[in-house]
């Protein structure tokens, strides 16, 4: 697995920040906006190595490549080994598949005949294709553009490719950079907070955007045996559903999410009592946390719940993948961070998330994602 986000540039650093309760959302550094107050964001330090000297790659692609390098190293895979296997790439993204270069478009509108570099950059930076090209992979490639559930959906898609013998190995996950367009869009929807986010808190004001990438190397058992490798976790269940209700908000009764979670457990062949914790979507918006909290309370009762977005921000197409990686690490460490910012329970949410780092016990966890358009996804991860 690999992970990069504002909390750290490799998974160990991310977890160290989470367990220490460290977070530092700030006004965006990579762009400006003329707003009365600038909602803080969780931005990856621009001085980090992944961003050095790659003019042809977008920040979204670079984030994916950085997380991928960590994941490949852990999986003992290199380019040559990958070439000998059937390798697919399924990556979630939102910004990474959108031609939203504002300076280019402003010049185009003014008839200033802008140069074509932003177009070429867009065409060369579908993150899934860019990863496949970078490693000369010829297996299936999909950028999952399912808004905020993209990262989770990409993991589900990858699992299908393995289960149906399309691939031996799949590079699965999600990646997204902060963008001014998304920043202004979420602000227009009035779901951003001018303070650090407070998932499930009674006084929560909204979300903070973030950026990052989470990558999992998923592999069939047969391929692992051939490579003489051992796995440290399984993606044992996945399901998704649609609310068919509203273009941006969740259905108030949460029936769609409940169906996705229940089916994911069924798919994993385990029951609620096997789940050690829930990594919630937990955006810190009024609607998401109320609906998701209620569903979690209905299904899981008193099982520990965390929202790691308190440390990463909402990384959109990367969110589900980062959260799945953190769920696996939580199981491996038998530890959960506190949900930073949470102080007072909200009776409408019906749950109290973790308030400080705590130990957990169990071999399975579930990670939820809810998205624009009423998409709900849930992935179950398990230790062997």
């Amino acid at each position: 697995m690999g992970c990069i986000c504002a909390a750290g540039s490799v998974t160990n650093d991310v977890l160290a920040s989470l367990y220490a309760g460290r977070r530092n959302p700030q006004p965006p550094a990579s762009f400006t906006a003329e707003l009365p107050e600038l909602p803080p964001v969780f931005e990856v330090d621009a001085s980090l190595a992944p961003f050095a000297s790659h003019e042809n790659h977008s920040r979204t692609t670079l984030l994916a490549l950085a997380a991928l390098r960590e994941a490949l190293e852990q999986a003992a895979l290199d380019k040559e080994t990958l070439k000998q296997c059937r390798v697919g790439v399924a990556l979630g993204t939102t910004v990474g598949c959108t031609l939203n270069n504002e300076p280019f478009y402003r010049r185009f509108r003014m008839g200033q005949k802008p140069d074509s570099n932003p177009i070429k950059k867009f065409l060369n930076n579908n993150p899934a294709l860019a990863v496949a090209d970078g490693y000369a992979l010829t297996g299936p490639v999909a950028a999952v553009a399912n808004a905020c559930s993209s990262g989770t959906d990409a993991i589900g898609l990858a699992r299908d490719w393995l289960n149906f013998d399309v691939c031996d190995i799949v590079i699965a996950g999600g990646t997204d950079e902060l963008s001014r367009t998304a920043y202004l869009g979420f602000n227009a929807l009035q779901v951003t907070s001018n303070e650090p986010c407070r998932p499930f808190d009674r006084n929560r004001k909204g979300l903070n955007l973030g950026e990052g990438a989470g990558i999992m190397i998923l592999e069939t058992e047969a391929s692992m045996r051939r490579r003489n490798q051992k796995c440290f976790a399984y993606v044992s269940g996945f399901a998704s559903s649609s609310d068919a209700f509203h273009p941006t908000g969740p259905h108030p009764d949460g029936a769609g999410l409940e169906r996705a979670v229940s089916q994911a457990l069924l798919d994993a062949g385990i029951g609620v009592s096997n789940i050690a914790f829930v990594n919630a979507h937990g955006t810190s918006t009024t609607d998401n946390d109320r609906v998701e909290g209620s569903v979690i309370a209905r299904i899981f009762g008193e099982i520990p719940v965390v929202s790691t977005k308190a440390y990463t921000g909402h990384t959109l197409g990367a969110a589900g993948a980062i959260e799945a990686v953190l769920a696996v690490r939580g199981l491996l460490d038998q530890k959960l961070p506190g949900t930073a910012g949470f102080e007072s329970p909200d009776p409408a949410c019906k749950i109290t998330p973790t308030v400080q780092t705590q130990s957990i016990s169990g071999k399975a966890a579930i990670s939820n994602s809810l998205a624009f358009g009423g998409a709900n996804s849930a992935v179950v991860v398990e230790l062997p």
């Binding site: 906006a33 959108t98 299908d160 227009a188 559903s241 649609s242």
Partner: protein
């Protein structure tokens, strides 16, 4: 190979709305009306030919007031979806139907309309509605809401590889057995920025007009009634395509990453067994064999 059955087709293209309009255009041998955008680029003026897919008849399926503020690309997708379901004679509502949509470029005009609202207004008050419609999966969500489809909904994008990942996902979903139907959607839209991009990157060398339109296919499991499909995916040589003569109908719908959807529609209009294939620029392909009904 993955098997499936084709239960219904909805086409929105420059040739008109509905599979019959598409069939009529095929049989007439006449391409649709080609429009032209005069594009000023640093090297001079280039005329970019393109197709425009008019949307008509959507108010048969959804209330007119819900269409008024809907982006044109969303309207194309929604109309194609309703036409496909109508064509099938099936009502595939609820949780045993999935949606897999894909486009090469996504909802371009909605993205630029949102940017217009930023540029013409201010950073503090762009349109939240336009922002919501600028997200790739807004098309699939509009369809799921309109048709009350509660099953999984996925939107994929990978330029010319888009049809392959969309069809492969639909095929696998049907094989898993959790779903009875999958509504597949493939399309792309033309807009002024795409015209500019075409002029800047390809000049006058395009083989076909820039394409626009949306195709929806209602697929069922291979044991269901309907025309049987075989789907093949890979890189290199397609066994299906090498064993049969494949036709290209791009003159009917234009050049676009999601063009395979229209090729499947064309194959369905031809009664004999047909094979269509689309390669991406890296050699990955999706091939579809459509058996006689």
């Amino acid at each position: 190979m993955i098997g499936a059955s084709l239960l219904g087709i909805g086409v929105v293209s420059a040739a008109g709305c509905g599979i019959e309009s598409f069939r009529a255009a095929m049989q007439s041998g006449m391409p649709p009306v080609i429009k032209r955008q005069q594009v000023e680029i640093p090297d001079g003026v280039i005329e970019v030919p393109y197709y425009e897919a008019p949307v008509s008849g959507l108010d048969q399926f959804v209330p007119a007031n819900s269409i008024r503020r809907m982006p044109r690309f969303s309207q194309m997708a929604l109309l194609a979806a309703h036409l496909a379901v109508n064509d099938s004679g099936i009502k595939p509502a609820d949780s045993r139907t999935g949606i897999v949509f894909g486009s090469g470029y996504g909802p371009l005009q909605a993205v630029f309309s949102f940017l217009d609202s930023v540029i013409d207004g201010s950073d503090n008050c762009p349109s939240p509605t336009l922002f919501a419609t600028s997200v790739h999966n807004s098309l699939a969500s509009i369809v799921s809401i309109s048709m009350k489809i509660h099953g999984p909904s996925l939107t994929l994008t990978a330029f010319e590889n888009t049809p392959a990942c969309v069809l492969q996902t639909a095929g696998i979903w049907l094989q898993k057995g959790d779903l009875d139907y999958v509504l597949v959607g493939l399309g792309d839209e033309f807009c002024a920025v795409r015209g500019y991009a075409t002029a800047m990157l390809a000049g006058n060398s395009c083989a076909y007009p820039a394409g626009e339109g949306f195709v929806c296919l209602l697929l069922g499991r291979s044991d269901q009634r309907g025309r049987r499909l075989e789907l093949e995916f890979g890189a290199g040589e397609s066994r299906l395509a090498s064993a049969a003569k494949t036709m290209r109908h791009a003159r009917l719908y234009g050049s676009m990453p999601a063009g395979l959807g229209f090729e499947i529609a064309a194959a369905a209009c031809a009664e004999p067994e047909s094979v269509c294939v689309q390669y991406d620029t890296r050699g990955r392909f999706a091939a579809v064999r459509l058996f006689p009904s």
